[in-house]
């Protein structure tokens, strides 16, 4: 187990290296740079600025600097947001995205597991059909359509909730973004829970549990859920990666000052240090989360040995 963890931790480092190199390479390959915008700078000013940010040095010096920055996790100053370091921006934007993502995912887990389990226990009943059709709807409605529609209904027509505002957690302003973000995950989790539970409920150890006289609720909660939720656990790894893309959209729809919004703006502005900083940060988050999921497998399912 420990050797497995160490090996997985070690592989994270070359992967980060690859991701940051690809990103940096793309930025360098792209024609133009931060200063080729609509507003033309005087050549002398641009020269000075480029010198200040080290953009006039040969590529290998810059590349070395990027890697060195990566190693210290200090990406220097943003080009667009003058006087602010990338780390400051990350620190400011991360809580927004993390709160949003966490709220959405916990909500999705609660609703998804409940409906999935109910659907599995009452297979082929109206509960089953209704929840699975709803789940399919949740998968099919893109979040950039769902978000504006929810905003139209609850913010612009009924005036119950603010259409775009960030007041952190808990507040009324988080409801619509979190709901929009969670719809897809509710759907996936409900489907995964249902199929997982259906399979587990047919297995021998459930028959044994019933045979020794446990009540149905004990059978479900103490025995079946543990096995039936394994697919949900393994889904949680990739889910984080997609939660990130989801927050990109949701933050743009609801104009929230989160990582996703900063990331897209940085890409459009060609804010090199900020792009690299956010990419590196997201990569670390995804890699660490995948690692945690792999480890938690062994804890939930004793059959898995490393």
């Amino acid at each position: 187990m420990l050797r497995f963890i160490i090996r997985r931790v070690v592989i994270v480092i070359p992967m980060l290296f690859i991701i940051v190199s690809i990103t940096w390479g793309l930025i360098r390959l792209a024609p133009g740079n931060f200063y080729t915008g609509e507003k033309k700078l005087a050549p002398a000013i641009e020269q000075n600025l480029r010198e200040k940010y080290g953009l006039n040095k040969p590529w290998y010096v810059q590349y070395r600097k990027v890697l060195w920055n990566m190693a210290r996790f200090d990406f220097g100053n943003s080009l667009k947001y003058e006087g602010q370091s990338v780390n400051q921006i990350l620190l400011r934007a991360l809580p927004v995205s993390a709160t949003l993502g966490l709220c959405a995912y916990i909500f999705a887990l609660a609703v998804g597991i409940t409906t999935g389990t109910l659907a599995a226990l009452r297979q082929n009943s109206w509960i089953d059909y209704a929840s699975m059709t709803l789940a399919m709807l949740g998968i099919s409605i893109p979040n950039f359509v769902l978000g504006p529609l929810l905003a139209l209904a609850f913010a612009l027509t009924l005036f119950w909730l603010p259409p775009a505002l960030w007041e952190g957690f808990p507040s009324r302003s988080i409801v619509l973004p979190a709901l929009t973000l969670s719809a897809l995950y509710i759907a996936y989790i409900a489907r995964l829970t249902r199929s997982g539970m259906l399979e587990v409920m047919r297995s021998d150890y459930i028959r044994t549990a019933r045979a020794k006289g446990l009540s149905e609720s004990q059978v479900v909660f103490r025995h079946a859920l543990r096995g039936g939720l394994l697919p949900v656990v393994s889904f949680s790894g990739p889910a984080l990666a997609f939660l990130i893309t989801g927050t990109v959209v949701v933050e743009r729809v609801f104009a929230l000052p989160g990582l996703g919004n900063y990331f897209i703006n940085a890409c459009f502005n060609r804010d090199e240090p900020l792009i690299i900083g956010i990419v590196a940060f997201i990569a670390i988050a995804v890699l660490v989360f995948n690692l945690l999921v792999d480890i938690s497998y062994g804890l939930i399912d004793p059959r898995i040995r490393y």
């Binding site: 792209a30 529609l149 697919p231 393994s234």
Partner: protein, 331 residues
């Protein structure tokens, strides 16, 4: 390295290897009966049939609709009316002064362009991107998975390790950087970039599924026979193994189409995908979302059309899986 847990959840569509596994290991040799059986089972699944009908209708509408609209009303997806009074957003079936007008069943956008024509033309682009990107992912995934599965041993280990590593990369992030920093010069070039970017990131699950299939197939007699008669390794892989993995491949491909369509729409929504003057469902939804409070129909029609298409494709894909994989039908 231990074996990864036996359940692979694809990033977007949760397809366990087991879901599509062991479908037609060998039975396909028995002739067409498997396919006929599957077809019969599919027809029994009402939701899947409904999905199939809607998918076909939308495809037909997207293919011939714009031409019909053009000959009926003279509007194409990017024709802006000359008359100043018409270059603004009208609700469905309404013209200037709130009078009834049949020309625009979905209303018009801010420049007075017909939303119905735009939705149908957008459908063309969305469908094309989804289909071609799925084909790209099929091409890469099937050859990669089949090669790894057939060769086995160290090569297989290495190839699948690469897939594992790629699986945990945050692609979307790299695709966004790629599309934002290296925009193509022409709209057509941009489309090609989209095909490649989306296809290149969606082949991983396909490779795993095909590899699993090939590993169960490769020890069967007909492969031994092929090898004994001196068929080359590529010959065995592509003539004998790949055709036998078709069932799960078709199922997963139908589930890839909506995924890719959604990714395209996501990128277009962010302004990174399809560019004006071309439109796709994603870029139409992005446009509509901007003036949502005043002109909700600009978002609702493209959004609902797209959701309907994805909904139907998903039901069709699920139905196909049930039909081609009788084991799953126990659920």
């Amino acid at each position: 390295m231990p074996d990864p847990p036996d359940l692979y959840i694809g990033p977007e569509y949760a397809v366990a290897e087991r879901d599509v596994g062991e479908v037609i290991t060998g039975e396909v040799i028995a002739g067409t009966s498997l396919w006929r059986d599957a077809w019969r089972r599919l027809l029994k699944n009402r939701l899947a049939v409904l999905g199939m009908i809607i998918v076909i209708l939308i495809i037909i509408a997207a293919l011939i609709g714009p031409t019909i609209i053009k000959s009926a009303t003279g509007y194409t997806y990017d024709s802006i009316p000359k008359d100043q009074a018409l270059t603004k957003s009208f609700p469905p079936f309404r013209g200037p002064g709130g009078r009834f007008a049949w020309a625009h069943p979905m209303g018009t956008d801010n420049a007075g362009r017909d939303i119905f024509a735009r939705v149908l033309s957008g459908g063309q682009i969305s469908l094309m991107v989804a289909l071609i990107a799925t084909l790209v992912s099929l091409l890469i995934g099937v050859s990669y998975g089949a090669t790894a599965g057939y060769l086995g041993g160290k090569i297989d280990d290495l190839m699948m390790r690469v897939v594992d590593v790629l699986y945990s990369l945050p692609y979307v992030i790299i695709v966004i950087v790629l599309l934002a920093l290296l925009p193509a010069k022409t709209p057509t070039g941009q489309l090609a970039q989209l095909f490649l970017a989306l296809g290149a990131v969606s082949w991983l699950t396909m490779a795993r599924i095909v590899r699993g299939q090939v590993m169960t197939l490769k020890n069967q007699e007909f492969i031994l026979a092929a090898r004994a008669t001196g068929v080359s390794t590529p010959g065995i892989i592509f003539r004998h193994l790949v055709p036998n993995t078709l069932g799960p491949v078709i199922v997963y491909a139908t589930l890839t189409v909506p995924t890719v369509m959604l990714s395209e729409a996501f990128l277009s929504f962010l302004g990174l995908g399809v560019r004006p003057p071309r439109v796709s469902w994603g870029s139409l939804a992005a446009e509509g979302a901007q003036s949502l409070a005043i002109y909700p129909w600009q978002l609702i029609f493209p959004g609902v059309t797209m959701a309907l298409m994805l909904f139907s494709l998903n039901f069709l894909g699920d139905g196909l899986r049930d039909a081609l994989d009788p084991q799953m039908r126990k659920d």
